[in-house]
Symmetry: C2
Subunit: 208 residues, 2 copies
């Protein structure tokens, strides 16, 4: 049977990830060498490269895993009846917390996620699609409740929120938005997105 080999592969991958989390957290990403990492994981240097293409891939894989869990959890447990604005803020804020928990990790992850190398595209698109699949139902419900326009594609709506999230993270890295103001800033941006930047119609703004 094809059992031992598969099992070992899982174990090795796990060992690399474990060692990576430990060392990256202790010494930082840059200061940890692949050779150290290999030693800590109890394998040879070359082996790492049959599991991950580059050093930062290891980090990225870890973040990706965390995010997938987080998103799944959030969308499963979310209260789907509260206003979509609050739902989106909640989802993106927990992503934000994960990213900003470790400044250095987060930067590499965001750089790779927002502007991925061509080599990583296939993987990236798959992750992104899964992500959209999680958000779409929430947005559809919101459309049904009349909170969102129905004449705009869901993909565009997701994109819109995501763009503003990118801005938030960018502004955090430049120091324009400090951690403690992030949530309020995101809410403000999302509210602006809902209401529009154009002039108020004479009937006044819709709220929330």
């Amino acid at each position: 049977m094809a059992g031992i080999r598969e099992q070992k592969k899982q174990d090795t991958r796990q060992a690399i990830m474990q060692a990576a989390i430990k060392l990256f957290s202790e010494k930082g990403f840059e200061k940890t060498s692949i050779e150290e990492l290999a030693k800590a994981a109890g394998i040879g240097k070359g082996t790492i490269y049959s599991y991950f293409q580059t050093k930062s891939d290891i980090l990225h894989a870890f973040c990706e895993d965390e995010l997938v869990c987080l998103h799944q959890e959030l969308t499963d447990n979310a209260d789907k009846e509260i206003p979509i604005l609050q739902q989106m803020v909640a989802i993106y804020m927990s992503e934000f917390r994960l990213i900003t928990e470790n400044r250095e990790f987060g930067r590499l992850f965001m750089q790779q996620t927002a502007f991925p190398r061509d080599v990583d595209l296939a993987q990236h698109l798959e992750n992104e699609d899964n992500y959209f699949k999680l958000l779409f139902p929430l947005l559809e419900k919101a459309q049904d409740r009349g909170e969102l326009r129905k004449d705009v594609e869901l993909l565009h709506i997701v994109g819109h929120f995501y763009g503003l999230y990118l801005l938030l993270v960018s502004a955090w890295y430049t120091g324009r938005i400090p951690t403690e103001e992030a949530e309020i800033a995101l809410e403000t941006l999302f509210r602006q997105a809902m209401e529009g930047l154009g002039p108020l119609p004479e009937s006044g703004r819709t709220k929330n």
Copy 2:
């Protein structure tokens, strides 16, 4: 007098930039080594590092220069009376063209610009401030013409547009938006931003 030294410094910097443009264009960024670059510029390897902190800084400095010129030119010559939406599309599209002209350059530039390393923060913030100063007058005029809400901070408006621009570039790198659809996509996003994602008030949407 403090002339010869200053002059030489200018010349050397220029020589590095020239050599960089040439080699990066011919062989690509990754394939060009600092040693080659130094030889092409007629200086020693170490000297490069007293002008730029890292290899990608050289690229970044080049892009930054180009963008500063471009923005100045655009905002000077722009027709300040056409709808703000068209103005913003024009400005960001020329930035987009510059970025996407060379995929690899552009990626590094965007990664650095959106999520800059802490070492580069001071420089980055200065550039960003200059950039805002160029856009603010355009937005203020638009507010006066009644095209933009006056109860939203200019910084938030700029941020909003910039976030959507980040999204566009990101979507281009993932292949979700092909080059030829970029302009229409950006216009759509910006229009959505103006109109809002929330439900249409009974009086109907404002147009443009």
